[in-house]
Amino acid sequence: MAETRGAEAIPQWKMDEVAELKDLVKNYNIFGVVSFESISADQLQKMRRNLRESAVLKVTRNTLNEKALKESDGSVPDMVQYIEGQTALIFTNDNPFKLYKMLAQTKTPAPIKAGAVAPFDITVNKGPTSFPPGPMLSEFQGAGIPTAVEGGKIAIKETKVVCKAGEKVSQKLANALSKLEIFPMEVGLILRAVYEDGTVYLPEVLHVDETEMFNKFVTAAQEAFNLSVNAAIVNKDNIEVLIQKAHTEAVNLGVEAVVFEPEVMDKLIGKANAQATSVAKASKYEL
């Protein structure tokens, strides 16, 4: 049964597609809007296969995506604003952070094309290359890369920013970067927004730096350790250190106060010897 809008009949396949999307929105815990610009159909297929275990990736026309979201419950229609360009919807029962991480892992570096805008300062680093001198030398120089011949190969003379963020990459530079295997672009599924139970998560929130998280754990563990030792809260993890601390304090006191105890004697002798050596040095007295 075809629904009609004006005189134009909406084909059954489109209605099925919208119904399926609406079901997915309802049946999965979360969904995300992703961009897949600059991905080949081949790459997209591969990613879809890799994701199959943990997520469902649906690629369809934006008009149908929009229609499905608009017709869904709650604040789901708010997600329509993130549909733009080549867009897919992704559905999963994981949490938004895991989805973000999963998709971040699909990103791979890619060469930048002539005329494309540099996403960040593109730098070539000083060092040797594997290219023999010849036409390549002038090609690199023509692209603004400082080169010289060293040991029979082309070498880059200095580290240099060859294209600033936001500037367009020239044909010559694009060729040279590609030869040097400098890949400034990233292709993959870029998560624009995730919807979970009324909340919309944006990438800046979803990006969790694991190194930073690890460092926080180190700091927390260190704070706990410091407190346990400084307040002498004895436990299995700090007993050795507390013993060492107590003993070292005792040795320190022994040396400072010159208490004659066997464990302190070698330090006292060493100290006396060092003092005598230091005085001899200061006085330039020949021993």
Partner: protein, 70 residues
Amino acid sequence: MQYIYAALLIYKSGKEITEDSVKAVLAAAGADVDDARVKALISALDGVDIEEAIAKAAFAAPAAAAPAAA
């Protein structure tokens, strides 16, 4: 840092660090619980080796002392 302490506590208690266990511990401590932060923590834990962090802390202790010597 509350989230981190909660995770460390659960870890050392030999339990699994989940959204629920972290929330329960935070609530017991009287901390404000932010769902998104709990989720962020859990998701990041996949790539964080807590044992290593604890070991590093013990090892790093003297490093912390270094600036004092400057």
